[in-house]
Each structure stands twice: as C-alpha cells, then as structure tokens.
C-alpha cells in the first residue's frame, strides 16, 4: 500500500520532469534567440544610461545621473513631444482612412476580399527604402506631381522636407498595418447584429456608433498600436522626407550614437522611447481584457 503510493509519487515526479524537459525542447530555440539577440543587447544598452560618455564614443564606467536630467532639457523634450505629435497625427489619419477601407473589404464578396487583401499587403513586397525614395521622385521640385501641375499652369510647390511630408510617409508606410487588424475585427463581427440593430429601428449611422464600432474596438486599438509604434521611433522617413534634421526621436537616437558619439545619452533616449511604448502596450492589453 505505502510502497505503491511511494512509487506512484516517484512516477508522477518522473513524468513532471519529462514534461518540463519537453517544454524546454520546444521553448529552447525561441528562448535562446530572445536572450542572445534581444535581452542581452537591451540590457547592455540600458546599462549605458547610468554612465558617462567616452571622448570618441564608447562608455566610461563612471556612474552619473546626468543623462536623465538631460532628457528633460527642452531641446530634447521638444523632439520627444514632437515625435509623439507626428506619430499621433499619422495614427489618427491612418485610422480615418483605414476603417472605411477595412469595412469595405469586409463587405466584399469572398473572392474579391482576397484580391483586396493582397493589394493591401502588396507594397510590402517592395523594399521600404525604395518606396520612400519613390515619394521623393513624386514630390520633389522638378518631380512628377510638380511637372504635372506645371502643365496646368500651377506651382511649382515645395512638397518635400516638412512635417506634413513626414506624416504622409508614415501613413503611407503603415496604413496596411492599420487595415489588417481592423479588417479581421470587422470580418469577425456577426452581420446579423447590424441587421438586428436596423430591425430595432436604428439608422445606419446609429448602428455604426452603437454596435459596429464598440464591437470592433479591439481591432481599432491594435491597428493604432501597429501604426503608432513604428511611427514613433522611425528615423528613415523623417531623414529622407523631412529634410535630414533631427525632427523625431529616432533620428536623435541615431545621431547620438553615430554623429555625436554620445552612447549613454543615446541609450537614455532609447529607454524613454521604450518606456512610452510599454505604457501603450499595457493600455492595449488592459482594453483587450475588458472587451
């Protein structure tokens, strides 16, 4: 009796051990990848925030808090707030353009849905840089848009190198990331709920506000996050379309590392960026749980 219980417990512990081993086999590769390529570099970069800069780059391991005080220098604070502003505007525009697009695609007959979705992701098949350069070709002084307008006796206009161009580039680049989660949310919505709303006397606009929008809110939040996150830290689009000044926090970080050779302060800016994004992700997780 006792013996069988003991051996049963041993068997149980053996099976527990083998299950843990099994998990490790499956989790191992992903875990190794994350630790070696993400966690360790991240920890390294973040540890720089506590030290002084070396004269020609690198880090002098001498503790200091001045990197964080510098973060609140209006010079840099403005860049961070400016990036927040541009990323927010881009996100709002992407949402306003993306929602109707996703809605229309979700209403298409099945075979056209696939065609439309392929068209949405098609730009991703071309190199990102090439697509941004294409905008320069389109919008530059003697570019395609200006020469066309010139034939009509208009212009030339200065389209490039301002904040509007940056927003245009951000919206253009990340719009598909808005459309796809919205499409998934709208497509999943039972069409009978809209019919029920109409049947109970609601006009189409009321149905949208009271039924469709609240029930697709998780898709809205996800889409906004997908656009906001890469927009906020972006440095290629402001560099190419914004005229190369340090307009967004991404450029600032890049410049701190590569031009100013101030690795600790660059790391501090990176930490600030990560902190903002983590807060946003937590908000999204919270809203998804509530829905």
């Amino acid at each position: 009796m006792t013996r069988s219980t003991v051996s049963g417990a041993a068997a149980a512990s053996r099976s527990r051990r083998s299950r843990a081993l099994g998990r490790l086999v499956f989790l191992g590769p992903g875990l190794t990848y994350l630790i070696v390529l993400l966690l360790i570099p991240l920890a390294l970069v973040l540890s720089y925030t506590l030290f002084r800069r070396g004269r020609f780059g690198g880090v002098v391991y001498e503790a200091t808090g001045e990197n964080f005080t510098r973060l609140f220098d209006p010079l840099y604070l403005d860049v961070i707030l400016g990036s927040l502003r541009l990323a927010t505007i881009a996100t709002v525009i992407a949402l306003l353009v993306g929602y109707p697009t996703a809605y229309l695609i979700a209403m298409l007959p099945r075979k056209w849905k696939t065609v439309a979705l392929v068209a949405i992701v098609l730009p991703f098949w071309t190199n990102f840089l090439v697509r941004i350069y294409a905008w320069i070709v389109l919008l530059s002084g003697p570019g395609l848009v200006n020469s066309t307008l010139g034939e009509l006796g208009l212009g030339p206009f200065e389209f490039l190198y301002n904040q509007g161009t940056i927003v245009t580039g951000l919206v253009y680049s990340y719009l598909p990331l808005m459309v796809l989660p919205l499409y998934a949310a709208i497509e999943k919505l039972d069409p009978q709920l809209r019919e029920a709303s109409a049947n109970l006397g609601a006009r189409p606009a009321r149905t949208f506000v009271s039924v469709t929008l609240p029930l697709t809110l998780p898709g809205v939040v996800t889409g906004c996050l997908f656009v906001f996150v890469p927009s906020f830290g972006n440095f290629i689009i402001p560099e190419l379309l914004g005229g190369g000044r340090s307009i967004m926090v991404g450029n600032l970080i890049r410049d701190q590392f590569l031009k100013a050779r101030d690795w600790p302060f660059g790391s501090t800016l990176a930490l600030a960026l990560i902190a903002v994004l983590v807060v946003l992700l937590l908000l999204q997780a919270w809203s998804a749980r509530r829905a």
């Binding site: 009978q192 019919e195 109409a198 609601a202 009271s210």
Partner: protein, 345 residues
C-alpha cells in the same frame, strides 16, 4: 393584414421564391414550413427589409412595405441565432429598440421592466448575454422583439437552438405570449411538429413555391399535393390513376380511397400508418397482404413495417402500444375508403 402578392426572388441560377402569394390575418399565428433551402427564410428577410424581391408586392394593413428601409418598418424579427448585442446587458438589449423611438427614459425603463417580467427574466436584467443559458437568451431575443409592440413579429426558427425539453416549454410560452400581446406572429420552421403545435395556419413551401396553406389538422388529413403528402407526417404513398372507388394502382390492384378527381387522372393515394388495420394469420379479408419485416416499439406506439409483394418500399403501420405481431408473420392490411386520400399527380 399582411398581403404578399406574386413575390419572386432569384439568386443567380437558384429560384428562392417563385410567385409567392399569401394573406396573413390580424392576430394570427402563421407558420412557413418547409425543408431547408425552400425559400422560407428569404421570404422572412424580405418582410424584414434585409432582402428585396425581384418582383411582387407586400402590404401591411394596406400600406406598401417594400418601399421602406428596414429600420422604418413596424415589423420586428427574432433571429435564429438571437443576434443579441454581446456588449450590452439584457436590459440594454431590450431597451435598444425603444431608445431608437426617442421615448422618455422613464417610459423606456418601465416598458423594459414590464416585458422582462413577462418573459420571466427580471432577475437577469444586469447580465450579459454570454452569462445566460440558451433558453434565457431565446427569451431575451423575444423580449427585445416584442417590447416595440410591432404590428408583425417574425420568428426565424425560434426554437431550433434549444434542447428538446426546453423547446417544449418554450412552445407553450410562445403561444401564451402571442395570446397575451395579440401581435400577428409569422414563424419560419423546418420542424413540422413545431409548426403543427404552434400555428393557426401553415404554408408549406417547396423549392420556392407555396404548396398548400391550411390549418394543421386539414394539412395533415387532406394533403393536396404529392409534396405535402410526403413531407407532413409519415405516409404510405401509392401511385396509379384515380377510379370511382379509389386508386387503380400500378401493380397492386384497386386500393380504396375517396376523391372527387375525374376517373383516369394520374394520382397518388396516401394512407397514414395509424389508419392501417393489421390482422394476422389466415387468409382473411385485406386490401394488401404481406410479411412483417420489422417491428419497432416506441412506448406509446409500435411501428410495423410490412413487405408487400409488388411494391419496393415496405408499408408502414402504426399500432397503439405494444403489438403481439412479430417479424416474419403473414398479415393482411386494410383501411377505410375515407382514410385513403387521393392527391393529383
């Protein structure tokens, strides 16, 4: 009250409705019965305004219904899947339709409370639909549809998602409610027992056409088309030509039946299993003779299937309670002429 005239609807090659005309009376409990895909749901969706017919007219109390968008029709629909709003409480679901009428808040609240009381869900007002059982959801859907006091209430397979026991309860409750609120009910169903027990009149649909419109008893006892004879209840169907005493059948001689069809008309003879008399043993009097192939006992009734030479399918007879007859026995089958119904083919 509700007048449907010559309504047709095609989807590509499929004819969902072919020239359907029906008249539904004030306060009536009317059922559209048919196998799935027969067009009955399409008709319901046309009445609700989610679908438009290719041709035909629909009027409600003399007013044209088809010209109005769905949200302006005095017609409410209870969806098969209930379509309750998952992000709203039971009370908010029920209040939704009244809020659209811009009624004062106090009136909305009192009418919601009243209708929830009527369906026995007052205690659930604050719950979300996901927290309710199937039967409770069905009652919320019903409450949401009747709270607007529509002139016409449409119910799409209202009981199909419920298990058998709850379904029987809800059938009674539906009928009680219909009496109480006095609204005209049009229910779509593929379940003939449901249609029989609920409805005052039934329209049987097949392939987009109305086969017969009648009260349940008349539909059961006097089917007018071969489809109705085969679809409504179990029937033994023989084919042949009408003659003065019944049917001159193909291969089984003259079978008794009553009809006013001219002699020689191609026809079917339908006899209900419970109208068949069985007697065993000797070469007694009988319309048909055969050997018992199988006996199944169902408690209240037993089904005896009899293989009759000259006929492919067995003849089915139903007897009250248990039967002493065993498989392999030779039996005689007979029925009264009044129980054989002739249907033109």
């Amino acid at each position: 009250m509700l007048q449907i005239t010559g309504v047709s609807r095609r989807f590509g090659d499929v004819t969902a409705l072919a020239d359907v005309s029906l008249e539904i009376r004030q306060g009536e409990f009317f059922a559209l019965l048919g196998p799935s895909g027969c067009g009955k749901t399409t008709l319901l969706r046309i009445l609700a305004g989610f679908e438009s017919p290719d041709s035909g007219a629909v009027t409600l109390d003399g007013e044209d219904l088809l010209g109005r968008p769905a949200h302006r029709r005095p017609v409410n629909l209870m969806f098969q899947s209930y379509a309750l709003f998952p992000h709203m409480t039971v009370a908010r679901n029920v209040a939704y339709g009244l809020e659209r009428e811009k009624l004062p808040k106090a009136e909305v609240r009192s009418r919601v409370a009243e209708v929830l009381e009527k369906v026995g869900l007052s205690a659930m007002a604050g719950r979300r639909p996901q927290q309710l059982s199937g039967g409770q959801r069905q009652r919320v859907a019903l409450a949401r549809a009747i709270v607007k006091r529509p002139r016409l209430l449409l119910l799409d397979e209202p009981l199909s998602a419920l298990d058998k026991k709850v379904r029987a309860e809800m059938q009674l409750e539906l009928k009680r409610l219909q009496h109480e609120v006095g609204i005209t009910f049009v229910v779509v169903t593929h379940d003939q027992e449901e249609a029989m027990s609920l409805a005052d009149r039934i329209a049987v649909f097949s392939a987009g056409r109305v086969e017969q419109v009648d009260a349940p008893v008349a539909l059961y006892e006097r089917p007018r088309t071969p489809f109705v004879a085969g679809f409504v209840g179990a029937n033994n169907i023989f084919s042949g030509r009408a003659c003065s005493v019944g049917l001159a059948s193909d291969g089984l001689g003259v079978l008794p039946g009553s009809s006013d069809l001219p002699d020689g008309t191609p026809a079917l003879l339908a006899v209900r299993p419970e109208r068949l008399r069985l007697d065993g043993g000797r070469d007694g009097e009988g319309v048909l003779k055969g050997e018992v192939a199988d006996v199944s006992f169902y408690g209240g009734v037993s089904h005896v299937s009899v293989a009759v030479p000259g006929r492919a399918e067995p003849v089915l007879a139903a007897t009250q309670g248990a039967t002493p007859i065993r498989a392999g026995a030779q039996v005689n089958l007979s029925w009264a002429a009044g129980d054989g119904v002739l249907v033109p083919q």
